[in-house]
Amino acid sequence: MIGLLKKHRYFRDHDLKSSYDVVIIGAGAHGLATAYYLAKRHGIKKIAVLDRSYMGAGASGRNTTIIRSNYLTPEGARFYEASVKLYESLSQDLNFNMLFSQHGHLTLAHSDRSVNTMMERAEVNRLVGVDSRVVYPDEIKDLCPQLDISDHPTFPILAALYHPPGGVIRHDAVVWGYGKEADKMGVEIHQYTDVTGINVENGKVTGVDTNRGTIHCDTVISCVAGWSTLVCDLVGVPLPLTTHILQACVTEPVKPLLDKIIVSGTLHIYISQSDRGEFVMGSEIEPYSGYSNTSTFRFIEDLAMHMIELLPMLGHAKILRQWTGYCDVSPDYSPIMGLTEVEGFIIDAGWGTYGFKASPIVGFTIADLIGTGKTPELIQPFRWARFYENDLVSERGAAAVSH
């Protein structure tokens, strides 16, 4: 409580300098976390984080904040598990309450094929040390009495993957928490600073051009998620990504009734209820790619129809607002992280619909990569070159509707 009486200035404005040690493009959760760990763990302080808009304007401020580690591949499960662990102490580490609400995550199976997928995930998870198991209707009823587990719905619930550590968090708080601690250590966050060019000489990065002038630096990290292909075009690094919109919506706040996150791949929906009482909901990406960010009516119509099949109590709840965000989808639903063919240009992309949960571990590992010059083992499977080596990490089965 004492904290409330003190005056804080969390974020300061700066003039843009002509050179920095490291330039990070994108002041989302990934960019700011990377800046924080670079300063904190590696003592690199001359860092500029540039964003064409305000911090968190991208997917970091628009996502539905599901945090979980019950992925399908051992590589994925280990990576996201490390992130969940960092999240668990993040409020204390950054001295900012992120309202991490960790009450468990249920992925429903409505067909025997998806029961198999759930079993596969549960077993991979169990073997790599992630808390996750398959549960059946009786237990589902206990875990989440609000769900209609009868055979009345069009697609009755047969089983679910239960992941107790799954949770939701306040997304802006993550962005601000990393941002304010980075600011405190001298990192400069430059909002409304658009990167319009990346300069390369002899295969090495030498700086970036912005709407506010040119900056010299020999390390540039691209943390721009949905804009990744555009930024990588500036430096000539090809990425196998397509950007799609993902829609989400929220209800008026009502007294909390639902503490589990519910996901149904068959019905293309997921839902959680925040500590404020709003139901936060979403679906899968739109099938078309592009940068149009218009919300569609179909989205809330279909979502509402399917939602009251699962949770009939929602009939009277009201959708307050819907929105969209960009998702950079990779062919194997896994991220692309680390070195590229241009020396000094580090990529952090391919976050699709699931990158928010990775923010801490992304910052941690990318900072380690720069600080030590070695690619951490945890992100080795996600290297950019895997597409040349045909060595993919297929998470399609665990990352399509479950973000």
Binding site: P74, R113, E252, E301, H316
Partner: protein, 911 residues
Amino acid sequence: MAERRLAQRQGELIDRSQEVSFQWEGREVTGYAGDTIASALYAAGTRVFSRSFKYHRPRGLMCCSGQCPNCLVEVDGQPTVRACMTPVEQGMDVKHLNAWPSLQRDFLHLVGRLTPSFGMQVGFYYKTFIHPRRAWPLYEKILRNAAGLGKLDPEHRRTERFDKVHRHVDVLVIGGGEAGLEAAAEAAEQGRHVALVEEGLALGGQLAWGGPRSNGRLTALIERVNAAGVEILQPAYAGGVYEGLLVPVFQGRTMHRFRPAELVIATGSIEQPLVFGNNDLPGVMLASGARRLVNQFRLMPWEQAVVLTSSDEGLAAALDLADGGVNVLAVADSRRGADGSAIEDAGIEYLAGFQPWQAKGSKAVTGVVVTRDGEHRTLACDLLVMSGGSVGQTALVSQGGGGIRYDRDQRRYVPDSLPDGMRVVGAAAGSAAAAGAVPAQAPKTGCKQVVCFCEDVTTKDIALSLDEGFSSLELSKRYTTVTMGPCQGRMCHRNSGLVIADQLGLDPDSQRVGVTTSRPPHNPTSFSLLAARGYEPVKRTSTHHWHAEHGGKMLWAGDWKRPYDYGDGDSEVDAVHESLGLIDVSTLGKLIVRGPDAAAFLERLYPNRFGDMKLARVRYGIVCGDDGSIIDDGTVARLSEQEYYVTTTSSGAGGMEQWFTWWNAVWKMDCEIVNVTSTIAAFNLAGPNARTALSTLTDFDLSNEAFPYLGAGHAQIAGVPCLVLRIGFVGELGYELHLPAAAGEHLWEKLMEAGEPHAVKPFGLEPQRVLRLEKMHIIVGQDTNAESNPLEAGMPWIVKLDKESDWIGRYAIEWYKRRGNRLTLVGWEAQNGGVPIEGTQVVGADGQPAGRITSSRFSRRLGKAIGIAWLPVEQSEEGTAIRISDPKGSTIPATVTHKAFYDPDGERLRS
């Protein structure tokens, strides 16, 4: 009740001859027909309608037009209903939302007052409850208990019927005020089909609530609209404007999905509050709200009113209220040079240049302090009317793709560019008088000056957020939650923008302030309404009813419903092995590829060869993606030189049709593709007695010599023209019959009859899975995933790298071949009694996942568990011992095998 109403007058909405009673907080209240819940409660003396979101401050009526959050109540179990927009109905049950134990005495309000210095200041949540970490679950419980506005009934089920209508009109007008009515009449008079949507209880907008002077004009307009044949939906609201001018309109329990050729936005303007101390006390109302109560519901519960204004709108309101019978004591106008003579002529004191400072009172207004140049004046009153000018209601314009810009001269937001087919008329277009604003410097009075009524955000909160570095509208908005409440910023968007711009010393249209985007839906809309009459299409085969009537357990299989089994899967398996079984495989995708290039086309699509195929033969094939992964499989029969009949997996049918037609469009080959999946039924008659049984229905020579394994031919069977394919997914002699779906039920019954001497059994999906597993036939999508290539999947023979033509996936598969296999798809068997669960893992020496079990069944015939698994090549030798995980933590030992478990040489198939 009666004594609280003013004398009857033209323009009132209530019908004094008809009383309506309902429940409010468990007490009975009586109003008139035509009353809203809010007006009836007001007449009955209710002043506090709700408690505010955060501080639980008492709130009374403010806008009376469905904009502000102050009168949100629960009606018949539906939370967050706007009392001022909902007509009273006999017997309805109305309750308050956000207070405990009661509206009058709210516990959380007390808490807020006891901790004034930091209690619930902006950012409160982020800065508290951090340490110690283990206490967070407890803190969180407290937070969750305090959260939320209304309550949902966990037992609620939709019982009423909701509906959805698709509508096409020439012109849709949103808003039934003067401008909307005029636009509608004009269009309809030109012979166009016009619909008009109005959310209020009366047509006319300001003409309706602005007092008797406008009654004549309104009556004439309504007559004109009616005469022109405009269709009026009222009360109904437009839920948003989506791409292609899709406008969902909600009326009662019906959703109208309008797609008008032209859309006219006539949503008028919204009067804005003023910012001053205690500006949210019950008794502080917007001028337009007070005028609605007086003119439409003839309510005058006040002794004395003071009007606060920053524009001419407030002056007009003062005169109208006085005319309607309200005792207006004074008008404080924050402008100095305005003309207040009309006010003075009406005998009302006019205070030029006086800004509101602070409202007096604790649960209701008892007076107001106004100020000029350091001079304070206190006026006693019980109604404070405020008018901060109006802003055009442009949310629908921007949702529909129009641009909005800030007009510095008018100090308001106006539509800039419009999408095709959209027109904006009236006040929404910015034609109303220039708006006033919040005072340049909001007074620092020590008591709360509310900017955002929904979210309880004050000027102090905004100032604090800016000081802390959240120094833009977007950041401050996210930090303080200003504009994020149920009214979506209608009551606070302009004022918060002005406060922020002012504090940062920026123009309201600068980058850091700007205009925030308006997000649909336009009004909060319930799931029930949005879901409307939802339905889930089910695909059914021609014999669906037969299966259901004969004990078929009908389960989802992709988009279809298929029999899982008919009650006894084991005996169905036995029937196929020992005598005869019949399965409906109509769900298979079926494509005809026809034309001079048909053969060349398939050569390019499939890794294996089809160009060299003889007529009347059928061949198994897989389809690969560009990355060399298996995306589908099925059979291809050559019907003639230029015609092939292709089957795909059931779930792959739609995707394969797209895949085929897409490539055909890319390659521009001379062939066509027809998807006949739903017009052709398919049955598989399988078992040692298949030939004998089928012979009784046809003259076609089924002998092994005339029609061997992998033959394809046309035959009349029981009078039905069929394409017969001799293939065997289930491992026994079998005939797959493809026929017109219309004859499906007939032929199915004939086949069952013909099989009767052989004790034929229909068999379902599950027995089929066991049968195919015994043959080690894979199911694409179950035994393969997005990364399975045919080399690793044990089908190198199907990949013809020596084909002349290029084919899809070739590059990748050649690459895989050079690299060598890492994984491989093999069979396994487990004799020790355990039956692994599909999806479990093959455990490596380090205890980590090394492979996965894709299929697993207990085969009664073989007396052991059998299955398919992906294994690392090193562990895949025939006879290798593997360990399979089990959810309970133990492992099941098994042995790798490469040969089919049943009839490995296919003798039975070929017999």
